[in-house]
């Protein structure tokens, strides 16, 4: 039982990651692929933040009367990773817009007939 209590957080996060990952590789629509990438990444962020949690700790902002803080390092890493994520999303979506203009579709199976791509 205690094994489950100690790990359930990671397991659900893994489940979330895999749902995002599935959307990325299985979705037919390019916008949906990008949504999938975001879900995948956000779930990885959750794994990092879970690493940083300390039971009974509080947010890592020094204040009177608080002795236990959660670990600030994973927070910093994920702030950076979130920014990287939105940057990729922006470029990806811009590509989708251009693909729509050039091919007239953003459905993967519809330009497979013209040439095997993506």
């Amino acid at each position: 039982m205690s094994f489950i209590v100690d790990h359930y957080n990671y397991w659900i996060v893994v489940l979330l990651m895999m749902m995002g990952f599935y959307v990325v590789i299985a979705a037919n629509n390019l916008v949906k692929k990008i949504v999938g990438l975001n879900i995948f990444q956000t779930s990885v962020f959750m794994m990092y933040i879970s690493i940083g949690k300390v039971n009974g700790g509080s947010a890592p902002i020094a204040a009177e009367g608080i002795t236990t803080y959660s670990n600030p390092l994973p927070h910093v890493l994920i702030l950076t990773a979130i920014v990287v994520g939105v940057a990729t999303t922006a470029v990806g979506l811009a590509l989708v817009v251009r693909i729509k203009r050039a091919y007239g579709t953003v459905e993967e199976n519809e330009f497979e007939d013209k040439e095997d791509l993506i």
Binding site: Q41, Y48, I51, T88, G92, L95, A102
Partner: protein, 501 residues
């Protein structure tokens, strides 16, 4: 005054030049700035390489915070050697790019092209210099984002889908690396590579660390286009502007190979990766399949850029083969091939770009009769092609020689034979193009057109690389001593363990 800051300069010079390009606004000024900054970075990198050969590893604490609390720049001979190749190629490609992109890229985007190129260079230099696992991820993403942009600047609309595929796969790869680094941090409490190496040693066989390694290796394999995760590479290199193909083919995937070397040998240690997890067998198998499958694919393509792209995936196979032999000589051969392959693929793609400029096509038919019409370009293509095959007196021969030596050292006759057989396939795919250029009459694509030799600004960088191919094929003292020092340093822990046994 700046002597002690040299290790950080190849990163921050291009990083600051990129926004300056935007502020300058005019494309020829941006070109000039980018080329100068890149050249300066090259000079600094060579200086750093010579310093590491004399004094060993250079460490630089960013912000004055000592590692592992702060981020450390850590340059050993392996990093400095590849850094010199990357900054050098970048300079030559920038010189070459002026004429090349004038034809292939819309004029309104020239400034953006140089900015993206500088950002890509920043990312690559950062990956090669950093001593921090998470910082590596950040620089990997800078270079990747810039790369997606560069690929999408191609003139054919297929560059868009190629860039999108690259973006999706690249981001999956980066996220996998992120997962792996998270697992490393969770188990060790640090992100500094040396500190990680110390602490991982206690946990040999730990399941979380094993999984972390698996995710990092898969993620990096996507970035370096290891078979069967290479699907993004051929379309990206085919449809990107020629200058971009020349730069990426000779640097980006090679830097990813370096990342793999770093994670395997410096962070995890050969013991963990090859002994506990037996990754060498898997890598060896994939490398050999990559060499044969992709060399074969290269022989049946009609687009010469695609031929070279598949050839790149095959050549990456040789590098991974060197790593998977788990010996100092094998690793040295792998590192040497990273360096030499940069020289040959750079020259080849530059030659193809020149052909595209003059004939308007990169189909193999467009090459027919070019031996007479563009003699200098085709001579460059021929010599660089011989180097890919591995003919003596070229740089390609040296790395293949050591690869075979490393295989024979372990009595791996079959592998040595396979390396030679792979070269036979290279003879076929390079030979087809040479046959068209020298022994066939011009096809309907070029017949009747007056085709001139490539302009000076393209010929000079191309020939600098060609001469480098011959020079490093004859005088191997610098490359060999650098690769040897680098490999010795990386496999240090391995030899210590062997000695102890």
């Amino acid at each position: 005054m700046f002597a002690q800051h040299l290790p950080v300069l190849p990163i921050i010079l291009p990083l600051m030049a990129a926004p300056l390009c935007i502020l300058l606004g005019r494309s020829h000024l941006a070109w000039l700035l980018a080329t100068l900054v890149s050249a300066l970075s090259f000079v600094i990198s060579v200086d750093v390489l010579l310093t590491t050969l004399e004094q060993g590893v250079l460490s630089y604490a960013i912000g004055g915070w000592q590692p592992p609390w702060g981020i450390e720049i850590r340059i050993d001979t392996a990093s400095a050697m590849i850094l010199s190749a990357v900054t050098g190629i970048s300079t030559l490609v920038l010189v070459y790019a002026k004429e090349s992109i004038a034809k292939e890229v819309d004029p309104s985007q020239h400034t953006l092209f140089y900015t993206a190129h500088l950002l890509c260079l920043t990312g690559l230099s950062g990956i090669l210099s950093t001593g921090d696992a998470f910082n590596l991820f950040v620089f990997l993403e800078i270079s990747s984002l810039a790369t997606y942009t560069l690929v999408s600047l191609g003139s054919d609309k297929r560059c868009l889908t190629a860039a999108f595929r690259y973006l999706v796969m690249g981001t999956i790869g980066a996220t996998f690396i992120l997962i792996g680094v998270g697992m490393l941090y969770m188990k060790t409490g640090t992100l500094n590579m040396i500190d990680l190496a110390d602490r991982i040693a206690e946990f040999n066989g730990n399941r979380t660390l094993k999984t972390g390694l698996a995710f990092i290796l898969v993620g990096v394999s996507i970035k370096l286009a290891l078979f069967p995760l290479h699907m993004w590479l051929p379309p990206a290199y085919t449809h990107a502007p020629s200058a971009v193909s020349a730069f990426l083919a000779s640097t980006a995937t090679k830097v990813a190979v370096y990342v793999m070397v770093r994670f395997i040998f410096t962070i995890y240690g050969a013991e963990f990766v090859f002994h506990t997890m037996s990754m060498d067998i898997l890598l060896l198998a994939l490398a050999i399949v990559a060499i044969f499958k992709c060399s074969f694919m290269a022989t049946v393509q009609s687009n010469v850029k695609t031929v070279l792209a598949y050839s790149s995936v095959a050549q990456i196979g040789y590098m991974i083969l060197g790593i998977s032999l788990v010996s100092s000589v094998g690793l040295m051969a792998g590192l040497l091939h990273i360096f030499n392959h940069a020289l040959m693929k750079g020259a080849l793609f530059m030659a193809v770009g020149a052909v595209l400029l003059r004939t308007g096509s990169v189909d193999i038919k467009a090459f027919q009769g070019l031996g007479k019409q563009m003699p200098l370009t085709m001579a460059a293509f021929t010599i660089a092609g011989l180097s890919i095959i591995g003919v003596p007196l070229t740089a390609g021969f040296v790395s293949k020689w050591y690869l075979v030596t490393a295989a024979l050292e372990q009595q791996q006759w079959v592998i040595a034979m396979l390396v030679l057989l792979g070269s036979l396939l290279a003879i076929i795919y390079i030979g087809r193009i040479l046959e068209a250029a020298y022994f066939k009459e011009p096809s309907e694509l070029t017949a009747g057109k007056d085709i001139k030799e490539a302009p000076m600004l393209m010929l000079v960088p191309m020939w600098v690389l060609v001469i480098a191919n011959i020079y490093f094929g004859i005088d191997t003292s610098l490359t060999l001593s650098a690769a040897d020092t680098a490999a010795q340093l990386l496999t240090q822990s391995m030899t210590e363990i062997e000695a102890a046994q």
